[in-house]
């Protein structure tokens, strides 16, 4: 008799979800072409790295025109043949993209509790044209969605840094500013390296900072850990 039938026959996933601005302004200066190439490069790297500790999954949400769209559902990087090219058109419904991301992150059938902490990547060259504040607030306060690592890239000078800074929760890496189209590649290379390093580490989730000062009344065990750190 074997115990094999009790074990899940699926590797733990490390989900990477890209929120890509595909509004009209991305069509100039080769920005959308560079973004397409950068995403293809990233997926291609993930395909090579996905065989070890964690199985990297990629999802793509685009926001351009009237509403955001789940362009590519969360799928194993190794199973992606190619990502359909993005085209840039219309307005910037970023708030709607936050809603789709929250929905995806909260869906336990898509991202299970045994999967690793997801990565969200937001990139935009513009200003949201919809109600983004409440959508971002919902994302940041949702039980599971709030735990994702969030990176942001501002493309060009027109991007609304306030939004991107509020989105970004990586204390060690502020919003990446892409002044030239080729910077998009640099950003994606950095994120790719970070994700692949996590996927190969013994602890694919980063540790949460410890705040011993943040203790509830009566909850403190009163032990002195600080003197021994």
């Amino acid at each position: 008799m074997s115990l094999k039938k009790f074990a899940v026959a699926k590797a733990r996933a490390l989900p990477v979800i890209i929120l890509a601005d595909t509004s009209g302004s991305m069509s100039v200066d080769g920005k959308i072409a560079n973004l397409n190439e950068a995403i293809q490069d990233m997926v291609s790297t993930f395909k090579q790295e996905s065989a070890r500790q964690a199985e990297i999954q990629v999802g793509l949400i685009t926001f351009g025109g009237n509403e955001a769209e789940l362009h590519t559902p969360l799928i194993k990087a190794t199973e992606i043949e190619s990502i359909q090219e993005l085209t840039a058109i219309g307005r910037t419904p970023m708030g709607n993209a936050f809603e789709l991301a929250t929905e995806l992150l909260e869906d336990q059938s898509k991202i299970t509790s045994r999967d690793y902490r997801p990565v969200l990547i937001l990139l935009s060259d513009g200003i949201p044209t919809d109600e983004w504040k409440s959508s971002l607030e919902t994302l940041c306060n949702s039980e599971r969605a709030s735990k994702a690592s969030r990176f942001a890239m501002a493309i060009g000078n027109e991007a609304n840094l306030t939004v991107l800074e509020q989105f970004n929760n990586d204390l060690e890496a502020s919003v990446f500013k892409a002044n030239e189209a080729r910077d998009i590649h640099r950003f994606f290379r950095a994120v790719t390296m970070s994700v692949t390093a996590r996927s190969q580490s013994q602890t694919p989730n980063e540790l949460i900072a410890i705040d011993f000062d943040d203790l509830e009344n009566g909850d403190d065990l009163g032990l002195d850990l600080s003197g021994q750190w």
């Binding site: 115990l3 199985e55 902490r117 750190w229």
Partner: protein
Amino acid sequence: MVKIQTVKVSVIGPGHIHSNIPNQDAVAISNVPTGWIACVCDGMGSRKKSEIGSRLACEAVSKVIKKSVFTISDKVLIKLIYQTWLDSLGEVKPNDAITTCLFAWLSHSGEVRTFQLGDGLILPYLNKPSMGINNRFGNETTGLGKSNKFSDWVTNKYHLGDDNFIALMTDGISEDLQSGTEADFVREIIKQIKAKSTRQYKSWLKNELRNWATPNHTDDKSLAILAIGNN
């Protein structure tokens, strides 16, 4: 007085073999004046002395409970164990030895108290298994050396009758078990114990855990079971 069968096993994960680091889990089953203790601890992978932290945590649990009455309060017991663990670290910093700590304390009359800090699973099988809701992501954990909050501990009390058991496992096993099959998994192990000699079942169980069916599994895997009567 209840009769019990015990199982304890710990195998190093492929990820640790690959990285040439030791098994960071520890597992223990001890007789104490008030009954028995089962304990599993999972040293946090990123910490350089976590294998020491997990081993000392098992020892601290045993050391404190051997001197305690079964009615000791949860908070006092946890504080005593935590302090014993801190004292035993010597030159090792708590932050370098972070470990989960899961233990079950079974009395001679079948009462069991359970304590859990951090990831892993304590599975009581009474007449039917029960599972909690998990809204977290894998490897998102706390432990001795990291938490200083009583509220981070989950404590429970049960009464184990005939054919009941309490099983404790590190997340290297619990996170990869198909939801709803956890109790059957433990029952299958208990069944095998009866059919094999001690040496045979230990060898069989280690082999099963080393050849785990989940692709890309990396973690160390540890399990302790206290089973009552004829399971």
